[in-house]
Structures are given as structure tokens and as C-alpha cells.
Amino acid sequence: MSKKYRVLAVDADPDSNLADALGIEGYRTIGQIRELFQHGRDEMRTINKESWIEGKIYGEVVFEVDDFDLLVMGRPEGEGCYCFVNNMLRAVLRKLMRHYDIVIVDCEAGLEHFSRKTIPEADTIIVVTDASRKGFKTAVRIRELVTELGIKAGIYLIANRIGEGDEGTVAELAGKENFKLLDTLPYDEDVAKADLEGLPVPLNSKVAKRIEKLAEVLICEAKS
């Protein structure tokens, strides 16, 4: 997929693990730049601060992987006032993101970066759940949050790690909650094994292949 499009992957989970899942190391995070700014700003004399932030993000945070770029948001802010730096971050990220065909954001359930508008909008929101009632509850909460935040995006559900025979229950639950169920993915030995060995998700695994197909469908839809 990333061979055909310009792709930016954003890890917006403060407990960053997208990079791990993709097998990437040695990046800096937006959070680190934000702290650098907070501590260095008194000595910045007359330099343009927005341009400073932009330079840091473009030069040190955006991480070039073979055929896509990665941006890790990092830990949430510490004490003090972050209004100004966040405002600049928003402006820089907005400018950056519009140059990619696809921006894919891995969020935590609280969608913090959307509520703070560090990430401005989304076309499609995908909620991944397992077969548990708790998972579905979270999915419903996320949908409520999306409405509350005024994000105009299509919401889809993907059920993951579903044991054989549970597909029916999942479809039923999704139907009851009025979710568009995009796909039901099985438990995949290869994925679990790679995880234990500390390796990225193998791209030739069954699940990975299914996801690639899903992505094509979603892109088509977003484009139309």
C-alpha cells in the first residue's frame, strides 16, 4: 500500500507501541520537542519559534522508513502552560499532514490528540475490538466521543483475535450496537509468535494480508 501512496503513520498513543509493532527505533517524539521548547524558549532570543518547531519536527521527529514516514506524538505534557507551543504544533502538523495521501493515526481510547486538536480531523475512524463485552463498550464510548468532538468521520468496527465459532456472536453484537462491521479477523499464530520474539507484525501473515485488502477498500471509499 505504501508503495503506491505517500503514507504517514502517527503513533498517538502516549504508551507508544506502534513503532515497536512496525519495528522502528531511534526516533524523537513531538513530546520531546515540546519539552525542549519549554526549557529553551527563554534563550531563543529573536528566532522565529514556529520555524524552530517546524525545523525540529521535519528534521528530527518525522522518521523516514523505507516506504513511509513515522511520527510519534510521545508522552503527554508536563506541568505549566502549553497553550502557545500546542498552538504552533497544530499549525505545523496541519501543514505537514496535508502533503500525504494517507495519514494513519494509532490512538488511545481517549482520543486525546483529537480533543486537543493537535490532529485536526479524520475521514475514517476504525475501532478495533475483541469479542468481549468490555471491548464493545469501549467501542460505543469512542463513538460517543467522536460525536462529542464534532469529528465528521465514518466509523467502522474491526473485530480482532476472534476465536473460531465466535464470528456469529460478534456480528450480532455489532448489529445490536449499530456498528458497521468491516471484518472479523482470526487469532493468528504468526502474529503472536512474532510478538513474543520481539519482531514486528509479519507482513506475510494471514491477518496482515487481510488488513492490506481492507486498507485498499477504505482508501477507495475515502477517495470517492
Binding site: 527563554d42 532570543r45 519559534k49 520555524s51 528534521g59 518525522v62 502552560c81 502557545f84 501543514k95
Partner: protein, 493 residues
């Protein structure tokens, strides 16, 4: 400093081109923010690996040859592909309204305009510039840096019509770039910084507002002047100006100063009008450099909070990172809780650390000569801005942790608050100093609370026996009463 044209050495490789031309690449704001990846780049110029700088120089009109570009060193087709190379972009500008003060304003736009060019990425500023030219631009027919220079100059003239003439000198010859950076550009950057840093409220016509924090402090308006950076510490007057230029309707807007009402307190009609409007009438007057009289509001974002200690008739400061109680018995967060919310609270003032650098730092109330206490960490951070004759007289937690200890310390070092503060700005004596030993004792006995005194800073305000603050208290009566009543009750219980 005098501005001179650079004399290009005779023997170096150079080419020149004059006049307008058409370009093989697109120019549009659409390309702003485009990031050129390593694999897509044809060459890198400046950046982390190579020396580079950009500079705009104002010259007399007869010295500038309009739309001429001179390139010294290798051009694009001679630079090794995939590598980083040295890069200098110097622009000479002329126009009846142009003087060296405008140089940084024009220079700043080089970043914007060059990013309009398809397949050209410009990052950072001054001697940190980092440029990448994409293979896509070369593919479209970009052949020479002179094309880049001309496109940029054209944008300058279109977007900034006060530029009557512009000429460019681009250099890729490393030794020359290095030499010019050191001998020609650096002194100009330094001079500009020094000028901006010595800029005062009286030197400018506009201040800037900030309303970013109104989402949680709806009546708060920050006013940012050369002598008063924002209380969150993030925004200087210079930053405010840059932001207001880019987005005049955004959170940072220009506030015309209007008439000067109080030169010492820093009160202006323009600021007052703006404050009334933005606070919905909540706040009618603001004095930028006053602690007691119509102080600047605080939205809760401040880095440091100042608190008045009536027992010593002096001011203490505590920063966000200091967890212990100040001599008044209160912690930063307790005081911040009372002071935030965008209201004028007399007796407390939120500021940014950089306000300590200001020549007008609470000048109406004696400036540094009224400061009696601050945590050691904070004091060390700002030490070089404290006048020499007072720096050792300001206590830290190592000298005093309670009001009594503070009193003892101040007396020992003969702090001005003991005998009366003369404010440097006009040599006026603004406090009478402490009342005689005997009287103090009486008061103490009368209140019968020497032990709790340290935790009742505000109760002191209302009945402070010190005459030195007479003037101040008059104007601020209502606010003080409010605080006092609440605090006293709590302690009585």
C-alpha cells in the same frame, strides 16, 4: 553598523543573470509544508551537515541592481547528487521605506516564499537553514539556483511591494560561505538581536494581545510588550508581532498603545480599551509594570507567582517547580489557585520568568528593590539580571523559610524594605520602611498571633500597619477585603 555590498573575489567561479524569466516549476502556497524525503532529494543545501545562512541587507537604492542574481560556486548540475553542500542566500534590498530595522521582517519571508516552490524545502532560519531540492523539481526542468533566486525575488516584490529593488547573491563555495557567515552575517545578526533586546515599550507603537487561554479563563487577556513578555513565558513581543503578521485575526492581535497615561506603571489608553473589550468589561485598567495597582490579569498559566508580604512590606516570588511553602506559608499551587482565572487580584501577580529580565520589572513598586525572597533555583536562573547592590539581600529558602526568619535576614542585610524603598525609575521614596521596634511589638501583641502570622499573608494586607503602602492600598481596597475575609475565617476555625 554600516551595510556594505559583498565584494566577490575575482578568481572564483561565478555567473550572473538579470531580469525576469518564466519558470519550469510551479509556485504556489499549496507546496508549503512539503517535506522532501532523503530518497527523493536531489541535493541538500546547508542543514546539519553543511554550513549555510540566509541574510537580507538593506542598501541605498543606487547600489542595488534590480532582479540580478550572482551565483558563486557550483550550480545544481555540478553539485554531487544525493549529497549536502554549503549554501548562502544573500539579498540586497532597497526602497524608500526600507531601513535595517526591516531586514529581519523581510528575511523571515524567505522561508515562506521558498516553500512555495514545488520540490524545494526550506527549514529553519538564519545560520540554521536547511534546504532540500527534490528530484521532482529537476525532472520538471529546474537547472540552476539562479532560477530559485529569481523566483524568490519575484515573490518578494509581489508580496512586499515596498521592496523597490532586490538583488541576490547565492554561494555554494564552502570556504566563502564560512568566511562570510563569520565576518559579514554574524555581526549583523548580533546587532539585530541586541537591538531587539534593548527595545522598550516606548520604542514601539503596538503591543500584542494573546487570547489563547480564554478557553479556560474567559476574561483573561495577556498583553505582551517589549518590556513585558507573556506570563506563560512563551511569547515575547517579537513572537507576538510575528504571529499577528501571519494571522491578524488570530489569537495574537496588534494592540495600538494609544495615549500614555502612566509612564511608570505602564498604563496606556489603547491597552485599557482592549482590556475592557476582551474581558467583557471585567477589567477596565491595566498597568503593565505595577504589582499593586491594576495589575495584569493571570489565566493560571504563569511560570512564577509574586506575593506581597505585608509583615516585611516586600514581595516574594515562587516558581511552579518549587514544592515547599513560601515564607507566607503558601505553596505555589495554593496561590496559583487564588490568582488564576483572569481576575485582577491585588497582592498576587503571575509572570513569566523572562519578565525578570525586563528593565521595567515591577518598576512602579520599586522593581528588584522591593523583592525580598525567592527560591534559590529561581534566583540562580535570573541572577544576572538582578542589580548588584541588591542581589545578596534577597533571601532564598536557605536564608529564611518563615516570615520571622525573613524579617531577621532582611534586617541583617539591611534590605531597602527595612528603611524604605526608593524606586530607581524616578528616585521616589515609595515605602517608609518598617515601623519602630516598639510599635511592631504592640501590633503583634494586639493581634496575638505571631505564630500563625506566617500563614496569613492576606489577612495582613487589610490591617497592615506599614505606612509605606498607603497609596497602593487605597486604590485596591475592594480586592484586598475580599481575600482577607475569606482567609481570616478559615484560620479562626
Amino acid at each position: 553598523m554600516e551595510r556594505k555590498k559583498i565584494k566577490v573575489p575575482k578568481k572564483v567561479k561565478k555567473k550572473a543573470s538579470v531580469g525576469e524569466e518564466t519558470f519550469p516549476f510551479d509556485i504556489s502556497p499549496m507546496y508549503e509544508g512539503e517535506r522532501i524525503r532523503k530518497g527523493e532529494m536531489y541535493v541538500e543545501l546547508g542543514g546539519p551537515k553543511q554550513v549555510g545562512f540566509e541574510l537580507v541587507v538593506a542598501l541605498p537604492t543606487e547600489e542595488v541592481e534590480d532582479m540580478k542574481v550572482t551565483l558563486v560556486g557550483n550550480d545544481l548540475d555540478e553539485l554531487e547528487e544525493g549529497k549536502a553542500h554549503p549554501y548562502a542566500m544573500i539579498y540586497y534590498v532597497a526602497g524608500s521605506q526600507i531601513d535595517p530595522d526591516l531586514e529581519p521582517v523581510i528575511e523571515r519571508r524567505n522561508h515562506d516564499f521558498q516553500n512555495f516552490i514545488e520540490g524545494y524545502m526550506h527549514l529553519n532560519q538564519r545560520y540554521d537553514i536547511w534546504v532540500r531540492i527534490g528530484k521532482n523539481a529537476i525532472g520538471k526542468g529546474l537547472k540552476s539556483l539562479t532560477q530559485i533566486a529569481k523566483a524568490t525575488m519575484m515573490l518578494f516584490k509581489n508580496e512586499m511591494p515596498f521592496i523597490e529593488k532586490i538583488e541576490a547573491l547565492y554561494i555554494t563555495e564552502g570556504k566563502l560561505v564560512e568566511k562570510l557567515l563569520k565576518e559579514y552575517a554574524m555581526p549583523i545578526y548580533d546587532e539585530r538581536d541586541a537591538r531587539v533586546e534593548s527595545l522598550h515599550d516606548e520604542d514601539v507603537n503596538e503591543f500584542y494581545s494573546c487570547t489563547l487561554c480564554q478557553s479556560f479563563a474567559p476574561t483573561n487577556v495577556c498583553i505582551i510588550s517589549p518590556d513585558r513578555p507573556s506570563l506563560c513565558g512563551a511569547i515575547s513581543w517579537f513572537d507576538g508581532r510575528a504571529a499577528a503578521r501571519v494571522d491578524p485575526e488570530g489569537p495574537n492581535r496588534a494592540v495600538p498603545k494609544g495615549e500614555l497615561i502612566d509612564p511608570i506603571g505602564g498604563e496606556y489608553t489603547g491597552v485599557n480599551e482592549f482590556a475592557v473589550e476582551e474581558s467583557g468589561g471585567e477589567c477596565e485598567r491595566v498597568k503593565l509594570h505595577s504589582f499593586f495597582e491594576y495589575p495584569h490579569t493571570s489565566c493560571g498559566c504563569f511560570e512564577v507567582i509574586g506575593f506581597y508580604m505585608p509583615e516585611v512590606d516586600g514581595i516574594g516570588w515562587v516558581h511552579r517547580g518549587y514544592p515547599e511553602p513560601a515564607p507566607n506559608g503558601l505553596t505555589f499551587s495554593t496561590m496559583a489557585g487564588q490568582t488564576g482565572g483572569g481576575k485582577q487580584i491585588v497582592g498576587f501577580l503571575g509572570i513569566g520568568v523572562s519578565y525578570f529580565r525586563s528593565k521595567k520589572f515591577i518598576q512602579a513598586d520599586g522593581g528588584w528593590y522591593r523583592v525580598t525572597w525567592m527560591p534559590k533555583e529561581l534566583k540562580q536562573r535570573v541572577e544576572r539580571f538582578i542589580p548588584e547592590d541588591i542581589v545578596d539581600k534577597i533571601a532564598t529558602e536557605e536564608d529564611a523559610r518563615t516570615i520571622d526568619e525573613l524579617k531577621e535576614f532582611l534586617e541583617k542585610v539591611e534590605h531597602p524594605v527595612v528603611t524604605g524603598v526608593v524606586r530607581p525609575v524616578d528616585n521616589k521614596r515609595i515605602t517608609d520602611g518598617w515601623v519602630k521596634e516598639k510599635e511592631v511589638k504592640e501590633v503583634k501583641e494586639g493581634r496575638a498571633e505571631p505564630a500563625t502570622q506566617q500563614v496569613s499573608p492576606s489577612s495582613g494586607v487589610s490591617i497592615s500597619p506599614t505606612q509605606g503602602i498607603r497609596l497602593v492600598i487605597k486604590d485596591a481596597n475592594i480586592y484586598i477585603d475580599k481575600i482577607v475575609l475569606r482567609k481570616k475565617k478559615n484560620e479562626g476555625e
